[in-house]
Symmetry: C2
Subunit: 158 residues, 2 copies
DNA sequence: TTTCGTGCAAAAGCTTTGCATTAGC
DNA sequence: GCTAATGCAAAGCTTTTGCACGAAA
């Protein structure tokens, strides 16, 4: 699994191109279905599920199948070109724009998932490694709470 | 859901008693099966899965069922007396000793899950709240890497 | 005696897989 | 034309649920 990434936020176009290149490098064919899934991933900021990507594409690609979405995700995972956020209850969600680990803030009311990149983790990770002896290679940091919109709604309904 | 906990590490006996008390408070019956599940949770430091708790108990309690394990977990979750670590691939793992959120360090080789409590999160959480506008109520922090034992094994096999 | 819990088996979700057909290259 | 990808349907896993029986209070 590749672990080097362009950490600077890329435009959807550049990101899409990079995913295409990575797949071509290992002789994967770029079919219309695959390209469509890559495009959704490169453009989505809302951490879509496999199901929602499929729903997004079925109108435009009537032959699209959920299996193909999953198979494309799998190819990207192998190459470190997608970040998988596992949720046993909500189903897994995906980030194709920024495939490297970064903290998320998640609303427990509306399910919104927001990126948070400002946090500098390197000091924390170094400390963790020193204290535990682990060689830490990745992480998953989720903060759960109520988003500003849902706080608003709560206040109005009181 | 209850969000207050005894944060000081309790002895297995005290922890077991607290879980029993919490269930009794809401008129849950303490059956031998439930008590057995609580006992495993109060004594386990290795973040067992539902399946492994079941496997642990089936010899001693031949009538034990996986459904009962899950139902007991559910009761504890409702009362904030167990921490559920969701993994869509490994299956969910549980921490009954320390039901409040705390960082974990996870070995991607052997699956070992180790607690790490020294990290002070309050400053980070405060910053997150200030920067995102979220009202943060809980978190899930996992660091993945290779544990000291597995590093050792790797070195020896080279 | 009444109510709650147990445990079997079936159902529910999400994800993966097998395989015949289709289509890149 | 050769090989890989698609997409259907079936299988796999973990977790949840329905329900009849059994046990706690």
């Amino acid at each position: 699994m590749r672990i080097q990434h362009e950490k600077a936020q890329q435009s959807p176009q550049k990101r899409l191109q990079q995913m295409v290149d990575r797949l071509r490098e290992s002789d994967c064919r770029i079919t219309p279905q695959r390209y469509a899934v890559l495009r959704v991933l490169a453009e989505s900021t809302d951490h879509p599920s496999a199901e929602s990507m499929y729903a997004n594409l079925i109108d435009q690609y009537p032959t699209m199948s959920l299996a193909t979405v999953y198979k494309t995700i799998h190819l990207l995972k192998l190459r470190g070109e997608i970040l998988e956020l596992e949720f046993s209850d909500l189903g897994n969600r995906y980030d194709g724009k920024k495939p490297y680990p970064h903290p998320h803030v998640i609303c427990t009311e509306c399910g919104k998932i927001v990126d948070h990149e400002q946090l500098d983790l390197q000091a924390i990770i170094n400390r963790m490694m020193a204290e535990t002896g682990f060689k830490i290679v990745t992480n998953r940091l989720d903060f759960y709470g109520i988003c500003p919109d849902c706080q608003e709604t709560e206040n109005n309904s009181e």
